[in-house]
Symmetry: C2
């Protein structure tokens, strides 16, 4: 299949509008009518592209994964030679993204899964896929950093990658509660400190 070029058709307009609206108001409070109005399309167009609202939720999670996947794939932290620096660079990159309004830097799928994990399994699965796939992009670097240091640990690259995601998601919640990014940035600083201690305090320095 050739990559579908993103014409500004009704579907992609709806998905783009969904990303910001759901992040701001949540999934349930985002009504189909409002979404259509924001996207500048009619309700008929909505139900032409999505069988129901839940299907939009699933598609929005997929769209989110595509957008963020491209963003992180192109980010400069991959250029570090030391894999630990790449992991730390990832966290620094996430911290650098913490600007603008709270709805602008928070995570769509983290927001959506809270509302739907019990009531809409398809959306929950889509959110899980988004988070887990993204976390998996960190595992190779974490594993390499462990091997560089001959670390034997009672944790795995997978659990650390997911822990990093947990800190990010939790930082977003606190940012929403406090109405600003500062508390999230502070939390990411603690996360960086953890990673530094974890890989540095083992005693061994990275192999040359």
């Amino acid at each position: 299949m050739p990559a579908r070029i993103a014409k500004p058709n009704a579907r992609s307009k709806l998905l783009d509008a969904a990303l910001s609206m759901i992040r701001a108001k949540g999934y349930c409070a985002t009504t189909v009518d409002e979404l259509c109005a924001a996207a500048g399309v009619t309700k008929g167009a909505f139900f032409h592209h999505f069988r129901n609202k839940d299907e939009l939720g699933v598609a929005a999670a997929g769209h989110w994964s595509e957008m963020t996947g491209a963003l992180f794939a192109a980010a400069p932290y991959h250029n570090h030679a030391d894999p630990l620096d790449r992991v730390l660079g990832y966290v620094a990159f996430r911290k650098a993204l913490l600007h603008g309004g709270v709805p602008d830097f928070t995570c769509l799928v983290g927001t959506m899964v809270q509302e739907t994990y019990e009531t809409a399994p398809a959306i929950r699965d889509a959110c899980d896929r988004s988070i887990s796939t993204h976390a998996r992009t960190l595992e190779a670097d974490i594993g390499a950093a462990m091997r560089d240091r001959d670390m034997s640990a009672d944790w795995t690259p997978e659990t650390l990658a997911l822990h990093i995601q947990a800190v990010l998601q939790g930082a977003f919640i606190l940012a929403k509660a406090k109405g600003g990014a500062q508390v999230a940035a502070d939390s990411l600083d603690h996360l960086s400190r953890y990673l530094t201690l974890l890989f540095g305090a083992g005693g061994a320095t990275p192999n040359p």
Copy 2:
């Protein structure tokens, strides 16, 4: 004021029902009708005790703070002599609470604030108060642990206490996405490891 004995009146029945229902389905998807049915009261009773649905949200956050406040105040981790052990004991206590279904161990206010932070400032403030007040119960022990070790840090007890809350909230999100508590427990293990490294790797042992 004497402590108001919790007679099973309509108000407290509604609040109790709200805690579990909002945790399971979210704030928006929890309808007043359903809530009344679950609480076994009529809609008239609801609007007698709460001017509108948002006022219930605020009251639910307050009710949540009271319930959890009592739970943590009575928890055994306060008995440790070393303040660091009390902080680690807190995390272990949180980990021990991770059983039963996902809606049973997740946090009401963390769920609610995601949906309401932009649309219902009163609820957002109530959720912030709940989280921040709870975090503050850790600050004294964190500060004491720092003093014991003559630590000079570029972070404060407040940011670490909030970071602990962020990890918890994020762990809940991952648990919802994955449909189980294991991922949350793993994240709390990383948090414990961070605290141990942070206070242990400074070099100094606690003062006798």
